[in-house]
Symmetry: D2
Subunit: 339 residues, 4 copies
Amino acid sequence: MVVIMKKKASEEDIEAVITNLNAFGFDVHRSSGINQTVLGAIGVRPGFDHRIIRGLSGVADVQRVTEPYKLASRVGREAPSIIDVDGLHIGGHAITVMAGLRSTESEERIKEAAKQISTSGASLFRGSILKPRTSFYEYQGLESDGFKVMRQAADECGLKLVMEVSSMGQVEPISEYASMLLVQAHNMQNFELLRVLGESNKPILLERGLAATVQEWLMAAEYIMRSGNTGVILCERGIRTFESATRYTVDLSAVAVAKVKSHLPVFVDPCQGTGMRDYVTSLACAAVAAGADGIAVDVHHDPPRASSNGLQAFNFNQFVDLIVQVRKVANAVGRSLHQ
Amino acid sequence: MVVIMKKKASEEDIEAVITNLNAFGFDVHRSSGINQTVLGAIGVRPGFDHRIIRGLSGVADVQRVTEPYKLASRVGREAPSIIDVDGLHIGGHAITVMAGLRSTESEERIKEAAKQISTSGASLFRGSILKPRTSFYEYQGLESDGFKVMRQAADECGLKLVMEVSSMGQVEPISEYASMLLVQAHNMQNFELLRVLGESNKPILLERGLAATVQEWLMAAEYIMRSGNTGVILCERGIRTFESATRYTVDLSAVAVAKVKSHLPVFVDPCQGTGMRDYVTSLACAAVAAGADGIAVDVHHDPPRASSNGLQAFNFNQFVDLIVQVRKVANAVGRSLHQ
Amino acid sequence: MVVIMKKKASEEDIEAVITNLNAFGFDVHRSSGINQTVLGAIGVRPGFDHRIIRGLSGVADVQRVTEPYKLASRVGREAPSIIDVDGLHIGGHAITVMAGLRSTESEERIKEAAKQISTSGASLFRGSILKPRTSFYEYQGLESDGFKVMRQAADECGLKLVMEVSSMGQVEPISEYASMLLVQAHNMQNFELLRVLGESNKPILLERGLAATVQEWLMAAEYIMRSGNTGVILCERGIRTFESATRYTVDLSAVAVAKVKSHLPVFVDPCQGTGMRDYVTSLACAAVAAGADGIAVDVHHDPPRASSNGLQAFNFNQFVDLIVQVRKVANAVGRSLHQ
Amino acid sequence: MVVIMKKKASEEDIEAVITNLNAFGFDVHRSSGINQTVLGAIGVRPGFDHRIIRGLSGVADVQRVTEPYKLASRVGREAPSIIDVDGLHIGGHAITVMAGLRSTESEERIKEAAKQISTSGASLFRGSILKPRTSFYEYQGLESDGFKVMRQAADECGLKLVMEVSSMGQVEPISEYASMLLVQAHNMQNFELLRVLGESNKPILLERGLAATVQEWLMAAEYIMRSGNTGVILCERGIRTFESATRYTVDLSAVAVAKVKSHLPVFVDPCQGTGMRDYVTSLACAAVAAGADGIAVDVHHDPPRASSNGLQAFNFNQFVDLIVQVRKVANAVGRSLHQ
């Protein structure tokens, strides 16, 4: 931490800052120039809120030298993490494809979807039972025995089931069925939920918030890991920008940054990110080329008739084509596809 | 709703769309030009998801004519809403000031703060008992008998207590003490929470999400109102943009827009929005000039020593000065300050 | 400037950085901790590109301590600048109103507009002769004897004429007629143009770019000032964000920030910023409450029939009402309106 | 164009709008429901400013059905454009690599760079003679006989020379040497410049503005094409968002969108977009996977010592590695690399 004193800071101000830093356990080095003094506070105190120093009299600015996360950081942990999802290894040489439905369908449709996507090359099956929406008036999936049906469909096809959790109370019941729990973007900073997930033994797929920086995303991962659950996979699904040609702006630089800054695996969800099927294959291939460890795709037996988000979903034939393209790019960057 | 057909749409496509719209209860008017057909679907179906039509064969685009919210809309309800918070009327002629602490303090400090701010002109006292933070390592307020202390302090000074709720389970216990419940920005789309709040009889202060459009903010209000609780007050507290000179960008246009589109009262929180005390008075005055019905300010007996967000808090003397300025602007726009 | 060395930086790396800094005239103070070394480079070298140091071996990060601008900075120059526009003093106690047309009108209409706005309380008349547009197909004003007409109209009503310049070649001819030159947002980083303006003796009204930070805006001002022209007035007119309810997002925090960081006067253009007449009066009042030294408003004798931007323009009666509101707020913040 | 009337619009209002639309040559179809009337205006008038209708009495909203650009649109022109740059074909099967220097170097260094990059697989050589910067105090390249040297270096290595133009006056002199002219992001809406480029016979590489939507980018291309020069190549180089881990946010969705909406070739510049060498190879591969027709890379014989933007430049060995990676991905998506 570097503390920059104001030009007008008095000697008392400077000494008070040094005393404070020492009290918090930092070793302080002082650099005084003609106009200004700079203090270097050496020491690692991950829990330290630098704003305490920022508010002291005579302080112009405080700048962090190290990232505010530690467990999620690649510093001191060079090898990428491999997360075990009921036997499926995510983050290694093989790239993972997750596919799933965005709305509740009949048991038959669920089984058909599981069969089709497992045949095509997906390893993860994303289910969606209860779907609160931005508008009360829009379609909402119904909670049901759907849990069992989804799990059964996944099991029969050798897929691992991934299910969304959106409140603390859902973690336990859904964990009975799901192999991995998905935290949606709007819950990325729902800290009560993150804390409960930190105590879970299920891997967590953590979507980046629409307005979250990569640093905040890694901090949310840290939050989960700090409570004991180190099985975190990141998922980029678009950030909010001024561009309106796509629903959100898929930020593939964030994949490159996250892979450099963190050892955690990174997924990309181009369906949610673009909101338009026409752009999904391009972005899925780009994500893999950028270094993603997995991609997430929406499928539907008849997208134009899907009750929710049909515009961004693929039918099964389109999904097969997507997988073919993605596999070629995976091979080009020296990786493979699961299965 | 206007349905724009593709140039290549077949007659069958067009007829299928019309049949669908009729089935949903819309009256359809067809306009066929040489190149393209446009269908006007007349009728109000607030619960209708227009994406169902968007996905049909031959459809180029679907555009909403009416806003997707209804209860929060000013259409058909010209008079601004006045929300009753335990006898305090918010949204009328008088502008409301809410002040509070961002971190847990001793009973003595809490009582001192309540006394000081009530003397200065605030009517609402915001308490903060449990404060989950973006980083596990940063300061977190501790849950405690604090509830009682805060309520008592508020009561003794004639203030109404406003408390944050960040999960469903907190709604009931906190409602025992608080006169109004605050939903923070990162929970604006926590629909489970919104649903429970919709069944509450407490007024709700709903912060705008960092990446939420005004429309989405009003949709979140609608979500609460739809469950029966019409006592919603909006709170602008900054959106995320590329500008880094302030913590967020306070969007005062959003106040003007929300006041035109909705009958709900609107607050502005310039402390959180700017993150810097130096800019707060300017923004508080600007908010009132823009039409805000209330402002929220952080106070602390000694901001540089606050354990959390001290940079944006006011000491009591500064708070008095702020109130003096805000009152002058309130009078200039034909309003007064509560008390 | 603070140079943070990597944890793995060798002693040679550190010494090479120190040698480099010394060569550029900096006094260097070294702070070595157990894990990491931090170098404080003391000295003011406004022309120094810190990226030269950033690229040296072993350097983790370089952080600026002082702002990169100097002439535009308030540091060492506490009093706000007052800019003389042909005898009109901008930036002092009185707030200035600029009003004008967005499109070419007949001589009669121009004279009518000048008369109406001067009677209502404006001091600056913005003319618009040549108007290149984002689309070739949209309306473009025609160059003409319009220059003379506008100047004559301004003179007859005691207004100062402000005209846009959008290329180097326009600076000289337009300077013959205009009292102040306006740089539009999309030219804020047109450095060839800025350089020519820096050699001009006309005051410059510098709009903030749609994607420009406050720092970059002040850097553009610095660019002009550095060439000798210190008569710069800043103009906030909205930044680009995800919000689409308004055309752009008027950033009134930027006014507060610019007033703290710089001694230059700041205007706000709520018409361009919101793009909607309904929101302009609220934002104009808010701008003045936030500390703006002037506001810019579009007028038209019949806005619905304006060939360009009619949606955001005021008719003359509406303009009178706006002025009345703005004057009240100006008085509330201890200022007056010109005239 | 669809005109949505207000609920309270009178019959006179509606008729006035219809009369107006007819006068502009539109065929109008009226759909009247119980609450609201919608008018469909059929006809293609690319030069029509829909705001004229938007401002008429009783009009609630006007929505465009067709894109506002025509020559740049893929509608009616399915095949992608292939642009001839002095014999080099851009936009076809082969992907083009442009490499170049960001700052002025000695004749020897320029020739070395040309040789190295042509050997590695680049076909375009970007020169930079005069470099105005955001700060007057930062490094600026010096104009010189550099033109000749760059052209000679390019010719000797079989490269085509690409040079930046930043004002109208530069177009003619630079055209004597360059095979393609580059418009930087901050000039994307410098319409005077675009008009002159429209009259040029040189292909134009048009960078997307930092705050420009894809639609505005295509409109800028249209602006050039409308003046007669159809040789336009688009270049995505990052947009401004809240994310600060990278300099800008490279928007690869924009590549997918531009390829669907337009027939023009699209380049991506990952060096400028990320500002950090560490992320460039990932993004370059991702760009090609997303469908880009070319990529632009900064090189330098010794990046840490580059006077400008050294952080994002590649040395020649790194450049060779990049090309190897990019070629593999190009092959995976069924394309090749030039040479």
